[in-house]
Symmetry: D2
Subunit: 98 residues, 4 copies
Amino acid sequence: MKVLIDISVIPLGVGISVSEYIAECQKVFKESGLTHTMHAFGTNVEGEWDEVMAAVKKCHERVHGLGAPRIATTIRIGTRTDHNQSLDDKVKSVESIL
Amino acid sequence: MKVLIDISVIPLGVGISVSEYIAECQKVFKESGLTHTMHAFGTNVEGEWDEVMAAVKKCHERVHGLGAPRIATTIRIGTRTDHNQSLDDKVKSVESIL
Amino acid sequence: MKVLIDISVIPLGVGISVSEYIAECQKVFKESGLTHTMHAFGTNVEGEWDEVMAAVKKCHERVHGLGAPRIATTIRIGTRTDHNQSLDDKVKSVESIL
Amino acid sequence: MKVLIDISVIPLGVGISVSEYIAECQKVFKESGLTHTMHAFGTNVEGEWDEVMAAVKKCHERVHGLGAPRIATTIRIGTRTDHNQSLDDKVKSVESIL
């Protein structure tokens, strides 16, 4: 099952600036080889369900490993069986109407 | 790694009423044996990361199996390494202040 | 326009324990007179759009006022024009199938 | 109070393809004059709280006006009192570490 997700990771208990922890997750997604794009509130990732979710778990493990005692993450998940849609497809289908 | 999540599953392409599909996910969480509580916008689930995420995946598979061609899910995920917190603990720690 | 929301407020820069800040938002919802229910990850609120969103804004203002320099909130919002649905209706429509 | 949001709008009861409705919200954000950027799962918007939330409300009104009987939206909201951060700043602060 293919999945597209949008993930936002917020470390708690490490002060106000959280960029270092967000960057760690970016490294995890890069290492995973999965297609991904960062925006101001999170990162879009696409791939097979198990690979994507393994990267999400690793992200939590690595951010805890950096010293964050608590993490609050939000994920939007999209799956569909009618056709194979990529992250790019989603953006283009809207832009074609504008 | 223990995890607490709050999951909201929205099937698309099946009309306005989605209760049948939400109920299917409730059955998945019940079958999983994981502690879970439903509210008007989703379900809180607690357990080991791999077991909880396996239930989330099965929920998507079962809702697609019921005929929903597209699913949009949102999940809030909480992990912490400082102490073992349950869903009940979270509610009680706020209520103790009110 | 009537709206149902599910709101989760996370203060940053105040340490690991955030209950005091979450409780402040509960007070705001109580003062608002809007129907609301807390769960382990957030609070369901129902009412007219402008009143609900005014309470959300006041929640941010009050949590900043308590000393939180940064707030990360997630909200699920539901509106519908086909019929008037309450928070209770949502839960009951799923439970009637289980 | 300045706010940064990430909004994802999902119309229900209109079939599987929802691009037309997402595009309508893009038009609302464009008309609003607020800084905004679309990604595969939503749109980042920045501005004064009241202006941003007015655009969110108008988005719901316009999508209902196009015929969607039900809308499920998720919003991430960020406010901070320690310094004035833009959407661009958020991305740059992470990229500077990578």
